[in-house]
Amino acid sequence: MESSIFRFILRHSRRQQVLLLVITLASFPFLYASLELPKKIVNEAISGKNIPAEMFGVPLDQVRYLLILSGLFLALVVVNGWFKYQINTMKGRLGERMLRRLRYELYVRILRFPLPRFRKVSSGELIPMITAEVEPLGGFIGDAIALPVFQGGTLLVYLAFIFMQDPVLGAAAVSLYPFQGWLIPRLQRKVNQLGKQRVRTMRQISDRIGETVAGIGEVHTHDTSAWHKADLAHRLGDVYDIRFEIYQRKFFIKFLNNFINQLTPFFFYAIGGYLVIKGQLSFGALVAVLAAYKDLASPWKELLDWYQLKEDTRIKYEQVVEQFQVPDLLDDRLLEEDPAGDIRITGRLALDHVQFGEETGAKPLDDVSGEIELDRHTAVVAVGAGGEELAQIVARVLLPTAGRIRLNGEDYLCLPESVTGRRVAYVGSSPYLFSAPLFENLVYGLRHRPLRPDPDADPARRKRRTAEAQMSGNTDRDIRADWIDYEAAGCTGPEDLVERIRDVLRLVDLDADVYSFGLNRTVDPQRRPDVAARVLAAREAVTDLLTDPKMGQLVERFDPERFNTNATVAENLLFGTPVGSAFATDTLAENPYMLHVLDKTGLSERFLDAGRRVAETMLELFSGLPQGHEFFERFSFIGFAELPEYQAILAHAGKDGLDRLRPDERTRLMSLPFKVIPARHRLGLLDDKAIARLLEARRVFARDLPADLRGAVEFFDPRVYNAAATIQDNILFGKLVYGQAQVQVRVGRMMAKLVDDLQLRELIVEVGLDHPVGVGGSRLTSAQRQKAALARALLKNPDLLVLGDATSSLDSASEARVHAAIRKHRQGRGLLWVVHRAGHARSFDRVIVLNGGRVAEEGRSVELDKPGTLLHELMGAD
């Protein structure tokens, strides 16, 4: 990577810079003409002097001449504007392309960092470097060459003009330039240093913020928020101090510059004036020189500003780039090379004096030699460190600091990742999942290169994007293409891939989890009519099952003609699922259409009265509890903070009557009954008459619903799939009945049986694959994360599977199942497993025992497991 920004600019944009310069210079005559023409209009056309008799053979009078010149002026305005527009666009585009190139190059560098580098540099530092810190560079790059050349040229022209008028005055005009040219960089140097310091401090701050986010649990566990606040405040204070000093110096430089610029006219007036008085200089010449000097000030100022910006940008560039100049960067060939032919990782892997660790301090791996047979299962038992490192080195995730590894005699460490990353799979103890649906995470290991172009792509747009990417040195691989290597997974296309994923999920014991994800997901019936149809069939089957009174009492189904006492009043009124915020339960009392329906059915006053009763009960129950008590969250309709407001509303209602409440008070009271679930809250609010009216309101609500609100609610219709409800709710089409013993377990059992009878499970698992796993997989449990990572590794059918402590979060029953399944699945293929309980090594073909990073014992497990060996001792200790 170029060490200075000018080298970077020259290397990647020389042609555009020259072009920019040429166009800038080409614009110059027009600019000059547009300054010259007004003079001509005033002096000649308007005052009527020197009017040419004819132009291009056309005879002229004064008015015609004026019109022609004015027209010319207008044309020049347009031409100048056009030049400016073109130049600015070119500059912007050039800057943006260069910025894109720089960011891309920096990102590629991150991908090429050797893994141990990430122990020293955090994402909190790297991210702002690539995003925010380089941002101002784009603006500068367009100006990098054209501006100094243009302004410098202008300056020279003016200077030449002054010198031609009078060499002495010319010398006077520039007399202070050398001094300025010497002084300013000197002053600037200190500002530069401060600027560097500021960037460093800001980086530390973003690192700290990143750490706070990552370790937020620890902050709360140990009551260290005050410490963190003080730490950040201290660092912000440092930034303030640095910034303040920069301001002082920067503005001092400005002050000095202005002073010096004003000093020159002093010389003109004093010396020039003296010369005029003495008759050695004509008065006209002095005025001309003064005017020229005034014009001089602007380019000179631009040049100085450019210098300051250049310095600023230079430092930013150097400071960012130096962080990415890492000595043992991975060879780009390892990442990009795509050797022809099918290279398999089979045979033998020979480790020869492999060592890993920092130069000073303990080495997790020291002088490890041995052979790994890639058609057998090898267990690694490590006493102390070294197990995970060995696994990562064998998986080629980590490169050893010394020693060699040979695959059937060939250098294993030189194989590109297109071989090792596809033929070897590794799962460690805390695998990373990307913030995407589970499916994307599972097929992640199959995405190496774009394989089939995006069928929906617009070819013209695609062509433009590709060309643009190439111009910025970016990759032109299309992210929207189909990258999934179905063949590698042993499939032919998307259809059987899902089938294969289901097999793998079963293998790693994740299928039940994904099934329950699926039950709780919504499906768009337009996109998946097959799912909708089968779910509706299941709903039908539930109807049959519920005719058994034993089961029937567990679920209260949605019946258009009946009030559902186990659903909220709001759900009963909408008789559907709200989509978006228009009919959200919390704000129903503010919804004009809902209020209209209540009015029309004569329910408004009843709602108000019910609201009063709910509020009274809530105040009675919860007003004695302290703030933040979990009952407010779990049980109360009214939060702690709102209690006094409701108290005031009730007092007002008690004094003046409910009908005298202010509109906002009415809204507050009326919002309460919507949340009531009669069977659960048992507040006795609704009698039969009220229920009859509610059913009437339900009908009116649906009948009169305006077209623009039609999309805001998905009605419960026994024959229609509800796109806003989960699959489970669609099947059940009702509410679990409150107060039935073990209702969830019993209904869950009924559902499970039904799903199996109708062979729906596979479909639901498929839907469950859309479950988003959250940031870093945070929406999965750690056991689910490990299982998902195992599934991801198995899906790509590796020749060699390397496992670290990959099942540590699983419960022991599940762990045993997964162990057995993986061993069986990998029969006859390479498996290296770093086991954390020596007993697990017993069934493996070979065992390597590491002690303090060195091989203590190695051999067939039956031979090693004898009294007197370390392995035997370790197995006994389990």
Binding site: T617, E620, L621, G624, H629, F631, R634, R682, G684, A741
Partner: protein
């Protein structure tokens, strides 16, 4: 049954006799009401428990396993509490309880019970009094048995 009827039922329980209505209402509101059909099991002997039951209506049988088979040792009716020992100290259920008839109970979880007690010390004092009474009764019963033996 509305919450007010549940409160009336709680009021009849000696443990709650002296507690304000609003507190009883909170207890009723925050605990779950569960229905059991005749023959359904509330809990099994020897399993660990995490809630106590207050019978609102219906009857429940307390059944103890003996070498000769299960024996019903008591039948409980409305306003009686069952399973409270298991939530006060972590011991397994000492008997199986089954619904004798159609049974409505209020299920008070251990977590909720302790929360209510820390929030309203008067309930804790009341419980202490009841437990102390029981202890006193047990002690005097023991004394009687011992003196009978000595005699």
């Amino acid at each position: 049954m509305s919450i007010n009827e549940e409160v009336a039922c709680l009021r009849k329980i000696p443990l709650f006799a002296n507690i304000e209505t609003s507190k009883l209402k909170l207890l009723a509101f925050t605990s779950e009401r569960v229905t059991f059909d005749p023959g359904d099991t509330l809990f099994e002997q020897d399993e660990m428990g995490n809630c106590a039951y207050i019978i609102l209506s219906g009857e429940a049988d307390v059944v103890v396993r003996t070498p000769t088979g299960p024996v019903t040792v008591a039948t409980l009716g409305p306003s009686e509490v069952v399973g409270e020992i298991a939530i006060l100290c972590d011991v397994p259920r000492t008997a199986t309880v089954m619904a004798h008839s159609h049974l409505h109970v209020l299920c008070i979880s251990k977590d909720l019970f302790f929360r209510i007690m820390t929030e309203f010390p008067q309930i804790a004092v009341e419980i202490m009094r009841v437990l102390a009474n029981r202890l006193e009764k047990t002690t005097s019963r023991l004394r009687e048995v011992l003196s009978e033996r000595a005699a």
